[in-house]
């Protein structure tokens, strides 16, 4: 067999990074965004990613956790990850206790990312619920970059959360809402004092906003229940399964297609995904 490949770097050794900034995203304080800077600046160039990819966040002594990249590839000085803390999550709990200056590790980038080639020249419809918005936030930041904005046509974003306090990236969404080159609709499940946006579940808001399927690519990330009820609305509007993409979450360890736990049928979410078109998903067993 070909053993020349063993000259490649060890894919299990993380890049050393340092937490530069921590932002609490929600009222429940269980979602935080971590800005990481590479201790060796040349590692940032090696960490060459596209929107929709993920990485393994590594905390020595605690373990690793696969998290979608929340910043844009054009944010050249840092990489951001938005992490929800689960009481059962050893790594996410330790990370949530971390403060700026703490060293940690980063392994990646991993996965396929969103289909930028297919999105070029198209209208882009982005639908999200809850904190699954992270890689879509990366996508919006990327598409709104002055060098990139003209590569796609209209950008329509529908983003919902349980309550105004649970919306992530509030300042950015507020700023994007004022822009003319992107149409943002924010919604919350329950009316709240001071909330001026819409009230209603994401599927209902999609039905009401009626994004056009013409010449469009739709990216959708959210909790299973949101996906379940939003898909029929998209079908009614005329979105084709081949033009609608979603991103899967799975328990992952290696992130490079070896350890054998994140497959859905023959596809590994870590290397064949996490982004799949609905057309692809329909060929896979419903084991996710």
């Amino acid at each position: 067999m070909n053993t020349d490949k063993n000259t490649k770097p060890n894919p299990y050794i993380p890049y050393p990074v340092t937490i530069d900034r921590v932002v609490v995203e929600n009222e429940a304080r269980d979602i935080k965004t971590f800005r990481l800077v590479f201790q060796n600046p040349e590692d940032r160039r090696r960490f060459d990613f596209r929107v929709g990819q993920f990485a393994e966040l590594s905390l020595l002594g605690f373990g690793e956790s696969p998290i979608g990249i929340a910043s844009s590839p054009l944010d050249r000085d840092y990489v951001e990850f938005t992490v929800k803390q689960y009481p059962t999550g050893v790594v996410t709990t330790e990370l949530h206790n971390a403060e700026p200056g703490r060293p940690m590790g980063l392994r990646g980038p991993m996965g396929n990312g969103f289909p930028l080639e297919k999105m070029a020249g198209k209208n882009i419809v982005i639908i999200s619920g809850g904190f699954a918005v992270t890689t879509l936030r990366a996508t919006i930041r990327y598409l709104l970059h002055p060098d990139i904005r003209s590569s796609v046509k209209n950008i329509t974003v529908i983003y919902g959360a349980r309550s105004p306090g649970e919306l992530c990236y509030k300042d950015e969404f507020a700023e994007w809402s004022k822009r003319k080159d992107i149409a943002v609709t924010l919604t919350v499940d329950n009316a709240a004092q001071g909330w001026k946006g819409r009230v209603g579940f994401v599927p209902a808001v999609v039905a009401d906003v009626k994004p056009s399927p013409l010449d469009a690519v739709c990216l959708i990330c959210g909790p299973p229940v949101m996906l379940k009820y939003t898909m029929p609305e998209l079908t009614k509007l005329g979105f084709k399964p081949g033009d609608t993409y979603l991103s899967f979450e799975m328990r992952m360890k290696c992130g490079i297609g070896k350890c054998g736990r994140c497959n859905i049928g023959p596809k590994y979410v870590c290397i064949d995904g996490p982004v799949f078109s609905l057309a692809e998903v329909s060929t896979l067993p419903a084991e996710y």
Binding site: Y12, L60, G61, N263, P266
Partner: protein, 349 residues
């Protein structure tokens, strides 16, 4: 050029093994305290046991150790240092049945695959010499012939032992790595015409005993249509989810990555894991895509005979029969495969 073949009397095997052990670790069939044959690292040449058939514990630990340190680390406030382990030592795996050699090919396919070849595996593989062993009789429970593997086939080995009459072994040297064993084999006489003829005859006899192989293409095709079949209920109902089938399988390679810490020092390690365990796929949120043993039993069969073949064009089963011998519920992969062949005929998706 004629292939180099040396003749080693069984009584001289300890001398050969002892010489092999100079400068390299040797994994070979041995008997443990219970008299059970297992592949284990030799500490003395006499431990290698030539009466073993297929050892219950497979040789995969040579390439995929049960616990493998990816790196060690030391943590202080504000500072962390990571040190990779020393490079692997040269090693030989001695006495591999041709089906165990095929299993190494499966591991090679998985761990060398792009986009990220598994560098720790490949480093270990590069310093590993495979010395196979032919079997003139078919071992009980072994069904490798049905998977197209001949127990006398020396392919993909660096060297290969063929049993000969009068308590002797022929050692075939097949690659440069095999030739590098010269200090261990040069004291033994080269095979004469008669012994070469005997080796050829043994191969011919073995091939004559070949059985009609299972139609692996049909099995793969059928598996795609029976994801929701009742077959999986019948397989998983007796299953206790112990994972013995996976841990004793020479091709099963699924692993976990764990932390081993003591104070501020620690190591990140790879450890064997199995799709038969509930925790294997359970998310931190509690959600589990494979909720019961049914999904997990199905995953194991699908991975071996459908998904693996899909991706690597090679079944992840070599017919060694270890899982049949070890299963406390008497699940028999031979019956399962035959059933899959027949079931798809009887049952429409």
């Amino acid at each position: 050029m004629t292939k180099e073949i040396r003749i080693i009397p069984l009584t001289d095997m300890p001398a050969f093994v002892g010489a092999l052990m100079q400068g390299r670790k040797v994994l070979a069939p041995t008997r443990n305290d219970d008299g059970l044959c297992v592949f284990a690292w030799l500490s003395a040449p006499e431990q290698a046991d030539w009466t073993c058939g297929i050892p219950r514990v497979p040789p995969k630990q040579a390439l995929l150790p049960r616990t493998e340190v990816f790196f060690r680390y030391h943590r202080e406030k504000g500072k962390e240092t990571v040190s990779p382990p020393p490079p692997p030592e040269p090693q030989a795996v001695l006495g591999l049945h041709p089906c165990d050699v095929q299993a190494v090919k499966v591991l090679d396919a998985v761990f060398s695959a792009e986009p990220s070849p598994d560098q720790p595996y490949l480093e270990r593989r590069a310093v590993t010499t495979l010395i196979g062993r032919g079997f003139s009789e078919d071992e009980p429970l072994v069904f490798c012939r049905e998977l197209g593997i001949d127990p006398m086939d020396n392919r993909d080995c660096d060297a290969f032992l063929v049993p000969l009459a009068a308590n002797r072994m022929a050692l075939e040297i097949l690659t440069d790595k095999g030739a590098a064993l010269k200090p261990a084999y040069e004291r033994f006489p080269p095979a004469g015409a008669e012994d070469r003829a005997a080796i050829a005859e043994a191969r011919k006899l073995s091939q004559a005993r070949s059985t009609p192989p299972l139609d692996m293409a049909a099995i793969q095709r059928n598996l795609e249509t029976i994801f929701n079949s009742d077959l999986w209920n019948r397989i998983h109902e007796p299953c206790v989810g112990c994972g013995a089938c996976a841990f004793l399988c020479p091709t099963c390679h699924c692993f976990d990555i764990q932390e081993e810490t003591r104070g501020l020092d620690g190591a990140r390690v790879r450890v064997w894991d199995t799709c038969q365990f509930d925790l294997f796929t359970r998310h931190a949120s509690g959600h589990n895509p494979r909720t019961s043993q049914k999904e997990r039993s199905r995953q194991r069969i699908m991975h071996k005979f459908s998904y693996g073949v899909d991706r690597f064009h090679i079944p992840f089963c070599v017919g060694c029969g270890r899982c049949i011998a070890a299963c406390p519920a008497h699940n028999d992969v031979r019956q399962i495969l035959k059933e899959i062949q027949d079931l798809a005929k009887a049952e429409k998706p």
